[in-house]
């Protein structure tokens, strides 16, 4: 526990020292929400576009930060030999993975703190939001995507890792119903996409933030499985050097 705290402190310090990266992490979702919230270009399935967009953009922010940003940064840590150096300390792989997931969650708290007020200002209606459940969903989503990001960066060479993170991000973004409603996809793709963590996260955030009455059980099981299994596999398979 003490080593997780120590590593978490170091991760947060590094995030704070890379201010431009942090700014980008906060600004990109804001631009997405500001743009799509002001321009009527996306099909929202008959719902109010903002009720669809705000949880969707929050899900995109979680996926970007937990998977792509963390995965690429960890890839750089491999090329800088930071991971190898950490591997010579008593810090375990599991402790490193947990510390990194928690550091991402801290960034997401900041993202939510700027995104949700902007959504509200644009007209997103907050009614019947189940905040504890929403927070649990964010944690599970963070764990899922950080697990994927660390699984890739924990095994692949830095340059292949970079390509893999971006490629996977695009697939999960397009199929996950985050910005484009899943109803717009062909039937077989829409069905297959239900097994993706991006779909489960977007669905659950809409259910918990908007209280839209959609069933929670299936996406919760899907996201729970991703959120528990993938970080465990990432910790097991992580290479220090």
């Amino acid at each position: 526990m003490k080593r997780i705290r120590t590593q978490l402190r170091a991760e947060l310090m590094l995030i704070a020292r890379n201010g431009e990266q942090l700014l980008l992490t906060l600004v990109i979702p804001l631009i997405l929400l500001g743009f799509f919230g002001s321009v009527d270009v996306l099909p929202a399935g008959g719902d109010d576009p903002l009720q669809f967009l705000v949880p969707g953009v929050l899900a995109v922010a979680i996926m970007s930060t937990a998977m792509v940003s963390l995965g690429i940064a960890t890839g750089f840590e491999r090329s800088y030999l930071v991971l190898k150096r950490l591997g010579a300390t008593p810090l375990t792989r599991a402790e490193l993975v947990i510390a990194k997931i928690l550091s991402v969650f801290a960034v997401e708290v900041l993202q939510a703190a700027v995104l949700l007020p902007l959504g509200y200002a644009l007209g997103w209606r907050v009614s019947g939001t189940t905040w504890p459940l929403a927070i649990a969903v964010v944690l599970l989503g963070t764990s899922s995507f950080a697990g994927v990001g660390l699984l890739l960066s924990g095994r692949l060479r830095a340059e292949i890792n970079l390509a893999a993170q971006n490629g996977l991000y695009l697939i999960l973004l397009l199929l996950g119903g985050m910005i484009i409603p899943r109803d717009s996809l062909p039937g077989f793709l829409s069905n297959a996409a239900q097994a993706l963590p991006s779909t489960a996260l977007a669905d659950l955030l809409r259910s918990t933030l908007n209280n839209d009455g959609h069933a929670l059980m299936v996406p919760f099981i899907v996201l729970g499985a991703w959120g528990l299994a993938v970080p465990a596999i990432a910790a097991k398979r992580f290479r220090w050097s």
């Binding site: 003490k2 120590t6 150096r85």
Partner: protein, 297 residues
């Protein structure tokens, strides 16, 4: 023995980087693994640290298998990598505090910073440090573990004279308090100043190992430097042994370097009014020994 390597082989695909090497590093001694770049030094050290799998053979560090008991070994091992190992934007003071806390041995980060002479650079980021300063931070990270065994890969590479003194002193201190130090280096003159034992690597093989004093041999001749043009027959009479001119004012007396012989030569030079600008008693340097044993020019 703190480190025992037996028939170790390391392969990268079809390339055999280390081919059936065996050697030991005694507890509390400073053992240097010497050899040119690509000789297999770093691969061997990485297996000892538990970062690389051996294709065959066995390695024991403090009685532990570095691959299967890596976590237990990290509690007792200090590692200095060959460059890198720190995030470029991290500050010196933060990095040291971080690693001292991870090792949990109660090492004070500020004292450590002072020990490696980097207190003035405490707020400097890794990317702004010179190569020598980065090496000192790397060494400090190894010390944060209060190690029983320390693996130092090219510790003085790219380090200035002042930095070399600091690093040399720290290695000696480690040895004096019983830490086994294993360092890989291709800088033989530098290694000779701190090491008590050596392992000579050549193209993935160990060609010799043991106490440095046993690896060095005494040449059967004495060399001195004076001026060109001395008649060798005259010195030979005084020395009682044949003398050969080697050029550039250097002469070689075909006799062992006894104090009596040195006395006869210096007396003769003095009475004849010749200067004496150098004397070589015939003991090999570590580099001489490596060249002789490894058969390199």
């Amino acid at each position: 023995m703190s480190v025992v390597v037996e028939n170790l082989t390391v392969q990268y695909g079809d390339l055999t980087a280390v081919d059936g090497v065996s050697f030991e590093a005694p507890a509390g001694a400073v053992t240097v693994i010497l050899g040119p770049n690509g000789a297999g030094k770093t691969s061997t050290i990485e297996v000892c640290e538990g970062f690389r799998q051996a294709a065959s053979g066995s390695v024991r560090v403090l009685g532990l298998d570095p691959a299967s008991q890596h976590r237990a070994l990290t509690q007792r091992m200090g590692v200095m990598l060959q460059g890198g190992g720190v995030y470029p934007s991290a500050r010196v003071q933060d990095v040291l505090a971080h690693f001292c806390a991870l090792h949990g041995k109660g090492v004070d980060a500020k004292a450590l910073m002072e020990r490696v002479g980097l207190t003035a650079r405490a707020k400097g980021t890794w990317r702004r440090l010179s190569g020598g300063e980065q090496q000192r931070v790397s060494l400090a990270l190894a010390l944060a573990a209060q190690p029983e065994v320390a693996f130092l890969d090219e510790p003085t590479s790219g380090v200035d004279i002042e930095g070399r003194d600091v690093i040399r002193d720290i290695i000696k201190e480690l040895s004096e308090r019983g830490t086994t130090v294993v360092l890989a280096s291709h800088e033989m003159a530098e290694a000779e100043k701190v090491a008590t034992h050596a392992v000579f690597f050549k193209q993935g093989h160990v060609v010799a190992s043991g106490e440095i004093t046993s690896l060095l041999s005494i040449r059967k001749h004495l060399r001195f430097t004076s001026v060109d043009g001395i008649t060798t027959a005259d010195i030979a009479i005084a020395a009682g042994s044949p003398v050969k001119a080697l050029g550039d004012g250097k002469y070689e007396v075909a006799s062992e370097s006894t104090p009596q012989m040195v006395s006869r030569i210096t007396s003769w030079l003095s009475t004849q009014g010749y200067p004496l600008s150098g004397i070589d008693m015939g003991m090999e340097t570590l580099e001489d020994a490596y060249r002789r044993i490894a058969g390199t020019k």
